[in-house]
Symmetry: C2
Subunit: 428 residues, 2 copies
């Protein structure tokens, strides 16, 4: 019997769970991703704020899958799908033939049709994004130190985060700590603690997926760290000089965009029906309607959770769906009956606010403060993909916790001009 | 009494030693550097070969100098010096006034007038250089895996290092290990161990600063690792298709240039007399002739060691000269007599070849093999600038030693095209 060819697109939580479940399956599996690494996205904000190095939270995909002898890993960008021909089109590389296809391409940030904001509002989705934000944050303080007393300093040291979801809250809290603690004693001409950090949220409260009591705690905790929190403040314009909401104008050279995502364009590759966020509307087994051999999961899939709701774009959803689809394919290849439709098991959610506060909602238990932070830390350490990452993150966290320092305060490009500091200077 | 203003240019080994010696001095000290970090250059090749992360060997300069209350750190690029006016000219930032000036700007790679080679022959001097080389090395294997069997694969997997000094030897050895051990089991379509690694040296032997017996050992050790060593092979041409020596033509997409350095242009800033490598010819106290208040040290200084020889561009030379100049300035400020002329204390030299071989020459003792490697490892761990770096490097080395892995196998840019893989593909 010839081995069926399975192609998995995307090496995020969902794609990796598929591969794991397919271990030992009688199949030729190909995993294709645009990058060469599996990234632990929940800690990406710590790379952006100089607490961790990229290698602490990312590992070469083919090293992780060394012992999965039925898997070939390809680094490449998928450009489209020829569903009737069973081909995945790859940019600058040969097409990949498939008998089964799993789409786990994830989501990207969305500016809701205001793409012109993008150059002035970096997002946080890839390692490259995180390093660019790190350069911008650290560069702003360096620029201010050599231009102390000039006009434009307060604009240069105003940091705006748009979007009060978990990433926005985590970033705003960590930037505040960076300015108020880590950097506080390192400058002679400026006071980093005078930096303004403002968090804008369009809706009525932060972390809207959590119970109101936990949202309120998060807001208070952020404000204690020195973050100005503005709710019900939709952004109307972002330009190179700053940002405008319905209520005010903020002069700033540093806006970070954490508001809203859209699925990557896999639905268009297939001509499949899209949900509002462009995700593929999938069936109860994560199958794409009209394509018996194509599945979609994680952020690129819109899964009806009943009662008009769809599953949120969370790591645990992608992981569970990935494991489900992997087992389904294994059963199908072996000629066994398919499993029952997918059901998501909600094990709770957490968000962290700075170095010793967090919120956690396990349904039967709600935690805030240090207990939640300790839980968050331990859970995230255990979720990291391998022993090396766990050890490095643990070492870095311990060092940072005791010294209030940040280990990865690096600007790696050649000259300060590269950071747009000159540009920012010229803007005065 | 007004405090004298001391400006130090360059935060390498030399500049940092000046600052350290000036601790507590009654002076306003300003340290200016193009980057925001002090870099432990001897381990930079390990960042280029994915063994260490940038943050493991680099630390924010202002964090290191937090407790040096008389020091201001400025990130900026020096463009020139107005010696009579006592001003250092900074790009895009205010000038810095000085009463005393210390130039510790270091060296850069030189193509000996063949600057057209630069685009096809990256160098290894900064963190940015190291990351670019890492992307190129890892990208070459990724590209080959998705184009297996096509023409151009052997060109893509041929790695040429030019220059048989310590950096060239360390790089060639580590690239060979990367291909033969770390990556060996991770690919399905190509055999990374089939990659060619060639080291070219124009002179009659590798590591010419060491005794011949140690050079010979290094060559044998490299060849055991699978490196083709070509001595007496000066490079005649480097282009986008490969490299030509007097004896042969090598098709390769990957040339790394480790041959020869030239001082940064500080001599021209002052109109001072230059040595052949453009370094400033300094006096016995590291003073620049004709400028009683200006000093130069490390790679940017040419120091007469007697008998027609000049001190080599080594980290210990820069460190000892930095400490000397710092103490000299401290004495002068305090009105004490100046110290005797500088004398270099040679404490020996080491070079490493792969994961368990090295050579060490302490004059009274010469080591090769595992003993030398263990010595090298311990000495370099201790020389790292802070506890955090030591701990992280130790953790990474231990992990790598036991698993044969490399922790920082990351391509962080968005798509494989960015690595010139498409370009390389188009070159077939």
């Amino acid at each position: 019997m010839t081995k069926p060819r399975i192609v998995v697109v995307g090496a995020g939580f969902g794609g990796m769970a598929v591969i794991k479940a397919l271990k030992g399956a009688h199949a030729d599996v190909t995993l294709i991703d645009r990058t060469n690494h599996h990234l632990f996205q929940p800690l990406l904000y710590q790379v952006a704020t100089a607490a961790l190095s990229p290698a602490d939270i990312a590992t070469a995909t083919r090293a992780l899958l060394r012992h999965h002898k039925n898997v070939t890993v390809i680094m490449g960008e998928v450009m489209g799908i020829d569903a009737p021909g069973g081909l995945v089109k790859v940019a600058n590389a040969p097409d990949l033939a498939f008998d089964f296809l799993v789409l786990a391409t994830g989501a990207d940030y969305s500016f809701f049709g205001k793409e012109r904001w993008a150059p002035n509002a970096p997002v946080l989705k890839t390692l490259d994004d995180a390093l660019a934000i790190r350069e911008r944050l650290l560069g702003a303080f360096e620029w201010a130190e050599s231009h102390a007393g000039e006009r434009g300093i307060s604009q240069g040291l105003t940091f705006v985060v748009v979007g009060g979801g978990p990433t926005g809250v985590e970033l705003a809290g960590t930037i505040a700590e960076l300015a108020r603690s880590t950097l506080a004693r390192d400058f002679r001409h400026i006071d980093p603690a005078s930096a303004r950090i403002i968090l804008f949220e369009a809706g009525p409260r932060l972390l809207s997926a959590f119970p109101k009591q936990l949202s309120d705690y998060a807001r208070t905790a952020l404000e204690k760290l020195g973050v100005e929190v503005r709710i019900e403040s939709p952004v109307e314009e972002i330009d190179s000089e700053g940002l405008t909401t319905t209520a005010e104008r903020i002069s700033t050279a540093n806006v970070i965009w954490c508001a809203g995502t859209t699925a990557r364009p896999a639905a268009r590759w297939l001509g499949a029906e899209e949900a509002g966020n462009r995700a593929i509307k999938v069936e109860g087994d994560c199958g794409v309607p009209g394509h018996a051999n194509i599945f979609a999961l994680g952020d690129v899939a819109s899964f009806d959770a009943g009662g008009g709701a769809v599953l949120a774009g969370l790591a645990p959803v992608a992981k569970q769906q990935g494991a489900y689809v992997g087992h389904l394919l294994k059963a199908r290849i072996a000629g066994r009956t398919a499993p029952k439709p997918f059901r998501y098991r909600d094990r709770g959610a957490m968000a962290v606010i700075g170095r010793s506060r967090a919120i956690a909602d396990f349904g039967w238990l709600r935690l805030t403060g240090f207990a939640a932070w300790l839980t968050w830390s331990l859970v995230h350490l255990m979720l990291l993909v391998d022993f090396r990452s766990r050890l490095l993150v643990y070492v870095n966290w311990s060092w940072a916790w005791f010294t209030w320092g940040r280990g990865a305060r690096l600007l790696t490009r050649a000259s300060p001009d590269t950071y747009g500091l000159a540009r920012r200077g010229g803007r005065r």
